[in-house]
């Protein structure tokens, strides 16, 4: 038996990749360049697809490969390419000013991670024997952390496109939870969700374009006429 066929090794790999996901998410919090943000998001999605592949490999589950393939097509290729083209066309490269500056953002992200670990404490099963069927059960904390940091990032951004990116990274957190806890939802649900993510991404991109055309800016803080 090769060392990589041991479930223990798979578990460590998944933990490593989940940690990298979190690092990328925190990187995106401080990122000022839009293009870099888009690429970090693509990289994050790629890592997530790798996690799905690892789980599929140890469990011999072909439908998880399918979920990973969908992830690769939709979130690593189609949406980032589309967003990058949009960012170039409307010539916005830099996130001018997030509402909260970088050091405080990082501290907030750290606190949110801590909160996620507290919430996920109830589900932690350290005594569980590591086998193929329990791979990555302990990444729930990371999933919640990514979700919460994504939410914070959304509140912290003013540019429409970077809000969309934050939303999609929140969804990455949910996929991590879905894949690592339950090895993916039933296939039809998985397909439906990816379809929604794809359509949603495109619809939001069109909306971003219209906002840019109408207001001459992607700054959503200008969208403040409707009150009461």
């Amino acid at each position: 038996m090769h060392f990589w066929q041991d479930a223990q090794f798979g578990n460590r790999m998944i933990t490593l990749m989940a940690a990298l996901l979190l690092v990328l998410q925190i990187m995106m919090v401080t990122q000022r360049w839009l293009i870099t943000s888009i690429r970090s998001f693509a990289l994050q999605s790629l890592l997530l697809a790798c996690i799905a592949n690892t789980i599929a490999y140890y469990n011999n589950a072909p439908y998880i490969y399918a979920a990973a393939a969908l992830m690769l097509v939709v979130k690593v290729i189609l949406l980032p390419v589309h967003f990058e083209r949009l960012a170039k066309r409307i010539e916005v490269h830099q996130e001018i000013e997030p509402l909260v500056n970088a050091p405080i953002s990082v501290i907030t992200a750290g606190l949110l991670t801590l909160l996620a670990y507290v919430v996920a404490e109830a589900f932690h099963r350290p005594d569980e024997r590591v086998g193929a069927a329990s791979l990555g059960h302990n990444t729930l904390a990371v999933a919640i952390a990514i979700f919460l940091i994504g939410f914070f990032m959304m509140l912290n951004r003013r540019k429409a496109l970077s809000q969309v990116l934050a939303l999609l990274s929140m969804e990455n957190g949910i996929f991590l939870a879905a894949i690592s806890l339950t090895y993916g939802m039933p296939m039809i649900v998985e397909v439906g969700i990816f379809f929604d993510v794809l359509v949603g991404g495109i619809v939001l991109a069109i909306l971003v374009h219209q906002i840019r055309d109408t207001f001459d800016s992607m700054d959503v803080s200008r969208l403040s006429r409707l009150k009461g």
């Binding site: 939303l167 949603g200 109408t214």
Partner: protein, 500 residues
């Protein structure tokens, strides 16, 4: 088969409308599809009454009284909106509000009309799918799709403010629904521990409900919080309600009507499905307290905004936040009485709200303004049919006897007083009285008053007949509910009133 028919008609209408180039054909297809899908929904309800449940494709699609009721209400709202939309959009075209550019050729409006007549059936399809999908994941996908299908209906007029409204609608809605997705994943996880293995049916509600008492309790607790935040956003519960007034005031009237009735019903429906699982797993206290908190907050938030409101459509939006809150309170008070009150409220609200929206739409097209101040009274002289009906609708929606909403609100209160929630019910009474005063004051301000010397509006049948028919229905349902409909509501209430 009926379920399949119900789902395929809107899709067919969407496809056909995309093909035709003639406005009259689009209108005819739209109207016909609304009539046929209402017929299908009625037949489905009849089938459910006879057989208890109807399922298709191994239980992938599934209708029990609760789904049949929600589908029937969606179909009713669609049917009410279809003829009104024809008259409304013709008038908008005549007033040249559909062509944003300066050139005013009649053909300019065609792309917008096609967008309306193709996206609306798609929007309706998503709502039908949400209520007949047995799989909770598919239900989530359908609810999220309603947001996606309606974003470009909110930006319909292409004004800067409509973009703002659509952006808020899209972002708040998507964040909310991503929370609902997280909740669905967690529910699946807590069920997965019991049911085990990968199988198609492991997220089917009809399967989950049998095993709910054995679910992992701590996971289910977390799941319900996410679900409540998620579908609560879609239902417009405070404090996630902020998209609602904006979207309602910018979308065309028929779309705002669908959002205020059918979408609200779908979101509450989804919430109710999860509530049943949560009660079976954790007992009634946990979810009831959360639902009552959010419900009371929603009713309370509506009060000040209704009292000082300046725009008629935003007034209606806050009224629908208030009514959504009352439904959630009914669900939260629980028991057979609370569940029945919630479903009755949903039914009566779906009959009453379109009347108000249509009347406000007629008034807005007459005065060219949505403002309650600009109208400055006297509508009753210029709009001799619409204006009294608006008054009637305002009385009905605030729960004045003898209208239906009075009965259902009274039942919600009774459920509150009967349970351990006396103080909540007292606060609710105070809020309801304040809302009654606010809406009645605002509406009478624009309806009554001396004539302003504007000519009487010519009567357009497309816009007037729905108003008259709806007001007859509003009065009629105050005294008499058809026995089969009551049976359906009662059957649905039995599903919701579960004991752990």
């Amino acid at each position: 088969m009926l379920i399949l028919l119900l789902l395929s008609i809107p899709l067919l209408a969407c496809g056909l409308t995309a093909l035709v180039r003639n406005r009259r054909w689009m209108e005819a297809i739209h109207l016909a599809s609304a009539v046929v899908s209402f017929g299908a929904a009625v037949l489905l309800a009849g089938e459910v009454l006879r057989q208890g449940t109807v399922s298709l494709f191994n239980g992938f699609l599934f209708a029990d009284p609760l789904s049949a009721l929600a589908a029937l209400l969606t179909a009713f709202a669609t049917l009410a909106c279809a003829p009104y939309a024809i008259g409304y959009l013709r008038r908008e075209e005549a007033d040249q509000r559909l062509a944003p550019s300066s050139d005013s050729h009649g053909t300019d409006a065609l792309p917008k009309l096609r967008m309306y007549y193709t996206l609306t059936p798609l929007f309706v399809f998503c709502m039908f799918l949400a209520v007949v999908a047995n799989n909770l994941g598919v239900m989530w996908v359908a609810v999220e799709s309603t947001t996606l299908a309606s974003i470009f209906l909110v930006t319909f007029y292409g004004r800067p403010t409509s973009l703002e409204a659509a952006w808020k609608y899209a972002m708040i809605g998507s964040v909310g629904l991503s929370m609902a997705l997280f909740g669905t994943v967690l529910t699946y996880y807590s069920a997965h521990l019991v049911l085990g293995g990968e199988s198609m049916s492991a997220l089917n509600w009809s399967v989950l409900v049998l095993h709910a008492p054995q679910f992992d309790k701590s996971v289910m607790r977390l799941a319900f919080i996410f679900i409540l935040l998620g579908f609560g956003t879609k239902a417009g519960l405070a404090p996630m309600h902020t998209w609602k007034p904006d979207a309602y005031s910018e979308a065309p009237i028929p779309i705002a009507t669908l959002m205020a009735t059918a979408v609200l019903n779908c979101a509450i429906y989804a919430l109710a499905r999860f509530q049943v699982l949560t009660v079976l797993c954790l007992g009634p206290a946990f979810s009831s307290h959360l639902l009552i908190l959010f419900g009371l907050l929603s009713v309370g938030v509506a009060v000040p905004f209704i009292l000082v409101q300046r725009s008629a459509r935003r007034l209606l939006a806050y009224s629908s936040i208030d009514n959504g809150g009352i439904m959630v309170l009914g669900l939260g008070f629980g028991g057979p009485l609370g569940a029945l009150a919630m479903l009755l409220h949903m039914t009566y609200h779906t009959v009453t709200k379109p009347l108000l929206f249509f009347c406000v739409g007629n008034a807005q097209q007459h005065t060219k303004s949505d403002s309650l101040r600009a109208a400055a009274g006297g509508l009753i002289h210029a709009l001799p049919i619409t204006a009294p009906m608006l008054m009637l609708g305002a009385l009905a929606v605030t729960g004045t006897p003898p209208f239906g909403l009075f009965q259902s609100e009274f039942m919600v209160l009774r459920a509150g007083f009967a349970g351990p929630y006396m103080s909540v019910a007292i606060v609710l009474v105070a809020f309801l009285v304040a809302i009654f005063c606010g809406i009645f004051h605002q509406i009478s301000q624009i309806v009554l008053g001396p004539p302003r010397g504007v000519p009487r509006e010519p009567i357009c049948l497309w816009k007037t007949v729905p108003v008259v028919v709806l007001s007859i229905l509003v009065i009629l349902t105050g005294f008499w509910l058809p026995a089969p409909l009551y049976q359906l509501i009662d059957g649905a209430a039995r599903i919701l009133a579960v004991h752990p």
